[in-house]
């Protein structure tokens, strides 16, 4: 796509292939994943367990456990610079400052024997420099830590407490404060609210939205919950067996669903307004990543599968500049007509 050149991209992943090689076999975690996030926008990466969501996040930070993980092919560009060319030392600078990541479980991502302000100040002290270009004084880092706590809605004087003195939602706020302490350009949030209760999830999402808008941070929102996507994202990529099978803006995905898998995800959710309606689950299970189908990875579970789906990888078909689907059901014409599968 030539238009891509004009877009101001914070993150640009092309054809990423990641494998985990163990004695038991080769797990194909990512199989040619493409991902783009425009500056200041939020992309939802939606998929099920084992689809490769977390691997994507870790690849961006070059944190894939190696061995057994190997990036076999592809490029990852952060604001135009290829992270795969960076040395480990340069990556250390990028992590936490340019890109930070929030993990799913707030209980295990904080160090239990350090006060929360020390944990926030740690990142600040590593990355921030003062007016003379020297690393900033620790007392200033602590001051910054207290400001960050206030920002995520925790009184600054609670900074001297330890993680176990905080509830789950508060801990996730601290994790977010650490991630945002150096004002990163890109925030990778890996299921940040899955471990939280709904009312707390609502609080945390609301806060993340506010901070994102305030600082113009780009965000990669990794989630399995389409409700959260509807709430906070600008664009959506649906990932299945390590490949983006449908991508588009919120309207494209929610109102003009094309891929049978995306359709299946929507149908699997109970509808609040029509509670008697029977759920239409996707049949079968995720394919074994050590032994993926030869053709379309979704083919064995697809209600619309054709002969060609079993043997060939589906091509990418565009509905508009952004919205694309990888599925044999569509061609340039019928994709604009509201979909063969009729939604």
């Amino acid at each position: 796509m030539s238009e891509n050149m004009k877009k101001d991209l914070e993150l640009d992943i092309k054809n990423l292939v990641v494998e985990f090689r163990t004695d038991a076999g080769v797990t194909q975690a990512l199989n040619g994943l493409d991902l783009e996030i425009e500056k200041g926008k939020t992309l939802g990466l939606v998929g099920e367990t084992g689809a490769g969501k977390t691997t994507t996040g870790l690849s961006i930070l070059q944190l894939i456990p190696d061995p057994p993980g190997i990036i076999v092919d592809g490029s990852i560009k952060l604001a135009g610079e290829d992270v795969m060319m960076k040395s480990e030392k340069e990556m250390e600078k990028i992590r936490g400052q340019q890109v930070s990541m929030i993990f799913q479980d707030p209980m295990t991502s904080l160090n239990p024997v350090m006060t929360v302000e020390d944990q926030i100040a740690e990142v600040v002290a590593i990355h921030e420099v003062d007016a003379n270009g020297k690393p900033i004084a620790y007392s200033d880092a602590i001051k910054r830590a207290k400001e960050m706590l206030e920002l995520v809605g925790i009184p600054g004087d609670r900074g001297t407490e330890y993680p176990h003195q905080f509830s789950g939602g508060m801990k996730q706020r601290v994790v977010i404060a650490i991630a945002l302490a150096c004002n990163p350009k890109l925030l990778i949030a890996d299921e940040p609210t899955t471990a939280l209760d709904v009312t707390i999830q609502a609080q945390v999402l609301e806060m993340m939205k506010g901070l994102r808008d305030k600082y113009g941070t780009s965000m990669l929102m990794i989630t399995h919950d389409l409700g959260i996507v509807a709430e906070i994202c600008d664009a959506v990529s649906i990932i299945y067996a390590g490949r983006v099978i449908e991508h588009g803006s919120l309207e494209d995905i929610f109102d003009n669903t094309r891929h049978p898998y995306t359709e299946g995800l929507f149908n699997s959710l109970p509808d609040l307004d029509h509670r008697e309606q029977r759920l239409k689950p996707i049949k079968g299970l995720m394919p074994d990543p050590t032994n993926l189908p030869k053709g379309c990875a979704f083919c064995p579970r697809c209600d619309y599968a054709m002969e060609i789906c079993q043997t060939q990888k589906p091509p990418r078909v565009y509905r508009n500049d952004e919205h694309y689907v990888e599925c044999f059901l569509y061609n340039e014409q019928n994709i604009k007509e509201g979909g063969v599968i009729g939604r």
Binding site: S167, V198, L272, Q277
Partner: protein, 323 residues
């Protein structure tokens, strides 16, 4: 289902209490909870972590010994049964667990796990009969017969949950407590399991107590919904009524917090202050008052009681007095 009278209560829970002693005092995990479930119906119990919903389920089955109250099952008070009578009673009351990974013994094959309840209660005499019944149950819950000798760690979460369901069904129970049976599963698998549970209810006339934190699931699945907060039942109503007219401020906030997969429907979100605490030595006041946007002095000094504000719709909140 036709022969079962759905207007007769199968389970009556009256004033159920379960306290745990902690270092900081008595934790009132379940405090004076009362409800009934009719034959062949489903009661959904919702609430956030620590609200006592799982403890309620386990206390009814006496997996935890209740501190007080009555549990009348099919006309018989199960809390008065002795150990051996209770062991027998378990044939009628079963449970499906949340975590499909820790709820199966990793050293037993699928067939062994499903057969165990039948062997313990000796309801089938010969080994062939048991084997035949195991295969029949595997068919019922949609597990391929060839997997009978497989160990749980070789299977995915959805299949493991089917094993748990088959184990619960093996004794032909009347009543099943489903403790967050789909929370650990992916959405596409979640829908498969929910449909399976629905089909089983229809075929076998089962009665469910369905515990979950997921409001869209409970709405889909239940006839009645009970909302719990810090060990108290604060609102109970038929599912349609509860979603159409949520009355307790907590229920309202809970419903508004559901992220809906719909970009055109923008619901006004009610954000609650603070977080859930734990009910240790609670004072006789409204337990939600601290976080409530409408709390008055009365709420902070007296305890509201459950009141019927419209047919079958019960709420415990002082605000309803003025309505």
């Amino acid at each position: 289902m036709s022969e079962i009278n759905t207007n007769k209560p199968l389970l009556e829970v009256k004033g159920l209490k379960k306290y745990f002693s902690t270092k900081r005092g008595m934790l009132h995990a379940v405090d004076d909870v009362t409800f009934t479930i009719n034959h062949g119906k489903t009661l959904g119990v919702v609430g956030e972590s620590g609200c006592g919903k799982s403890t309620t389920g386990r206390s009814i089955l006496r997996l935890l010994e209740p501190t007080g109250g009555d549990v009348i099952f099919d006309g018989e008070d199960v809390l008065k049964l002795d150990k051996e009578q209770m062991r027998k009673k378990r044939q009628e009351m079963q449970i499906i667990f949340q975590d499909p990974f820790s709820s199966l013994n990793p050293r037993k094959t699928i067939a062994e796990t499903i057969a165990e309840p039948m062997n313990i209660h000796g309801i089938l005499k010969s080994k062939d009969e048991v084997d035949a019944r195991v295969l029949e149950l595997m068919d019922t819950v949609g597990l391929a017969r060839r997997l009978m000798n497989v160990y749980p760690h070789e299977l995915d979460g959805g299949r493991r949950q089917r094993i748990g369901i088959a184990r619960a069904l093996s004794l032909n129970p009347k009543f099943i407590v489903c403790d967050e049976p789909v929370s650990a599963l992916d959405v596409s698998i979640q829908a498969q399991i929910l449909n399976l549970l629905e089909d089983l209810q229809e075929e076998m006339g089962l009665t469910y107590m369905f515990i979950t934190h997921d409001l869209s699931v409970v709405n889909h699945f239940s006839d009645d919904i009970a909302v719990m907060y810090l060990g108290k039942l604060i609102e109970k109503a038929p599912a349609d009524e509860l979603f159409a007219h949520p009355t307790h401020p907590y229920t309202q906030a809970l419903l508004s917090a559901i992220p809906e997969p719909n970009i055109h429907k923008k619901t006004e979100r009610i954000l609650l202050k603070g977080e859930i605490t734990s009910p240790i030595e609670p004072k006789p006041v409204c337990r939600f008052a601290q976080r409530c946007n409408y709390a008055t002095d009365k709420c902070r000094s007296q305890e509201p009681q459950l009141k019927e504000i419209s047919p079958n719709h019960f709420v415990s909140c002082f605000l309803c007095d003025n309505m």
